[in-house]
Amino acid sequence: MSDRTLLVGPFNRVEGDLEIRLDVADGRVSAAYANSPLFRGFERILLGKQPQDALTITPRICGICSISQSAAAALALAACAGEQAAPEGARIAALLHGVENLADHLTHFYLFFMPDFARPEYAGRAWHDRAVARFTALQGSGLRAATEARAGLFHIVGLLGGKWPHTLAIQPGGVTRAPTARDKVRIGADLRAFRRFLEAELFGAPVEDFAALDGAGALDRWAGGDAGLFLSIAEDLDLAALGPGPGRLMSFGAYPGPEGTVFARGTWEAGRIGPLDPGDIAEDLSHAWMLGEAAHPEAGQTLPDAAMRAGAYSWCKAPRLAGRTMETGALARQAVDGHPLGRALAAEGGVRARVAARLLEIARTQIALEAMKAAIAPEAAFMRPLALPRQGAGAGLVEAARGALGHWCRIEDGRLASYQIVAPTTWNFSPRDASGTPGPVEAALVGAPVGPDEDTPLSVQHIVRSFDPCMVCTVH
């Protein structure tokens, strides 16, 4: 078979637009180039605005992870003022954020990732009939159940945040809604309903059982629910070996509350967990249609190169930690947090690991949310009066469903003088940097099998979707 180049895209069932160019040699991908073809210019729109308007503008970057953007903006503004949110307000913000991330994982599994296994190309496989019944796009029974469970879960955000997407309740000083004892009961009911869905449909067992899995061996034996169906598909198609990441994972730490974060901050490499210094982050622009030099987001700019110069191929900047690519997402969070199954999956590192880590995180987040709910103290203060300074700078680092999200802002004369956003998919789907090192997804695609008649290779679909890309966040 002769060498050829494929242009794969648009990718449907990912959030936003994505196009990937593949060089194929001997039936395998030899090089990949990820292009984020959508640019809106949020970082430019924010300049000169009143600082607190970032709370309304940045969530509009993404309709799926709007609370993550909201939480990062609130933290960044609080940091500008050198303050922190009221502790109980932080707990409610964490609860809102956890609900959104949990719902995103569910959307990814049922609406975006699994429908690929219902494709006719897989007809004849032992699991295909079940996959078709459960996961056919727009129709499968699993999709319907998940959509319904998700809408029910979002009642919590409706209650505490007024509306979703684009909730306004999270502020630098806390949250605008002080939950009452009655709200607490209703949140409990919504969480119990969601737990019933997880245990009946997704895991086929108590969520605690899945959260207690301690390694790849225990995971292999799991047969319950849609999780079990996924694992048997993964075994049949050897998804564990497909699409390995860079072997370096990074998490900003998720859900800061009065008792600390729920999932720890740090890095993971070759089985070792280490500290993370956000000062080591820099965005490289060598292969992006952006003007300027590589810079830390505090000093970064967003100047689109209207000439779309040759040599560059994406609107996406290339963030690096100490000059190296990092993968971010649920896999990173669970490994960095030191969960035994998370660490085992990090060592495995492929498509199966990413999806299984999300399942693990679904189970653990459900448990964490129940604890947050139980700790709500309705009589407490949920907002601290907090005046934004005329001058100041700060960063808000959070964990969106898809991974590490950072906002860096600077206020001058009471207006936003700089605002830089680095989203999880910016890390995962970054283009090459000045040294020519490909981004995590570009590297993960190398070696993926491509059939002679395939022009939209299935392996590529699985690998790309295993990262759960959110392309509108990527470039913003």
Partner: protein, 362 residues
């Protein structure tokens, strides 16, 4: 067109019972504010009319409209509306990908020429020949024009498609442009909001599929049934506004008492939408109920009207409200005059606002 199934055929194929179908018709009539006499009409239309194909495309946007749509609490929306319109083409939710997806869109357009509804989420950026939003190797604006050419009507979902929304906020780096400024030869219905309320979305689409025509629109092209009242008009905190009881700071005593958020920058008095009646997330709440003011996301150019936390200062309705209250104590005939004056002043105010914003752009 005889080969196209009816709505009812599609529903039966999806395993929906006759009983559920009738329930759906009844609830649809209620949701649209129609009398029970319309129920048989809706049922008849669905049994006899070929279903209307829908193509749903995405430009510069954040997918919040789709997110809102799939959470609709609309009667049986998950089972009925989705299968009924069956989204012949949808970027975010469909099964196909890549070239197969492009082909699916071409096929749908060819097969249902002149007979499908084009639903647009997001908008096309026109700077640099549209290069800021590329879909399938071509600028989104081309895909939009191509899909619009043979569409029966167009739905502009959300503030993006209707007005430009956040990416069109100053300085509008990509020259993001609302749909009606690009497509000028088709009936367009605007369903603004960021995102629009799910029930409003399903309500509009159900109306169009059932009655095969656009609902009554206001002069901005929005469906009057959902956009004819201000948030303020039906806000449950309105009595506190009238009584002069306001939240002065976040989470203060007044906030806990649920006083009016006007002083915290609430744009409810100048925003036309159904949030305070239909509410969000299955009717659970809406932003004002969560203690945060309305930001006016269903109004044109709401991004560039000053800070979201600044008080609305051009609100001359203040005087009108006071008058209306006083008038309320007087004779009924005078009340009628007061209401008419109120409406006239509101309309005048809106017209002034429009001139101001167009001057600013000039």
């Amino acid at each position: 067109m005889s080969q196209i199934e009816t709505f009812y055929d599609v529903m039966r194929r999806q395993g929906i019972t006759r009983r559920s179908f009738m329930k759906y018709c009844a609830l649809t009539a209620a949701a649209l504010g129609l009398s029970p006499a319309f129920v048989p009409r809706i049922a008849h239309a669905m049994e006899t009319k070929p279903r209307t194909p829908v193509i749903w495309v995405h430009g510069l946007e954040c997918t919040c409209c789709s997110e809102s749509f799939i959470r609709s609490a609309h009667p049986l929306a998950k089972d009925v509306v989705l299968s009924m319109i069956s989204l012949d083409y949808d970027d975010t939710l469909m099964a196909a990908a890549g070239h197969a997806a492009e082909a699916a869109m071409r096929d749908t357009i060819e097969r249902y020429k002149g007979n499908y509804i084009l639903a647009v989420e997001g908008n096309p950026p026109l700077n640099e020949d549209g290069m800021f939003c590329i879909s399938g190797g071509k600028p989104f604006v081309e895909k939009l024009r191509y899909a619009a050419r043979d569409a029966k009507a167009i739905i502009s979902w959300g503030a993006c498609a209707s007005y430009g929304c956040v990416q069109a906020a100053k300085p509008n780096p990509t020259r993001a442009t609302p749909v009606h400024q690009v497509i000028t030869d088709k009936p367009i219905i605007k369903v603004p909001g960021c995102p629009p309320i799910a029930e409003v979305m399903t309500g509009v689409i159900t109306y169009m599929l059932t009655f095969d025509r656009l609902p009554t629109l206001d002069r901005q092209g929005r469906p009057a049934m959902f956009y004819s009242q201000r948030i303020h008009d039906k806000c449950y905190r309105r009595p506190h506004f009238d009584a002069g009881q306001f939240v002065e700071a976040w989470d203060d005593e007044n906030a806990r008492k649920g006083y009016c958020l006007y002083k915290m920058g609430c744009k409810g008095p100048t925003t036309y939408n159904a949030c305070s009646t239909v509410r969000w997330n299955d009717g659970v709440s809406f932003p004002i109920q969560s203690g945060h003011g309305c930001i006016g996301c269903s109004e044109d150019g709401f991004w560039d009207q000053g800070s979201f936390y600044d008080r609305v200062t051009d609100l001359t309705q203040f005087g009108v409200e006071a008058n209306a209250d006083k008038v309320g104590l007087a004779a009924a005939g005078v009340v009628g005059a007061g209401v008419a004056a109120h409406a006239a002043i509101s309309a005048l105010k809106a017209a002034q606002k429009k001139t101001q914003s167009s001057k600013e752009e000039a």
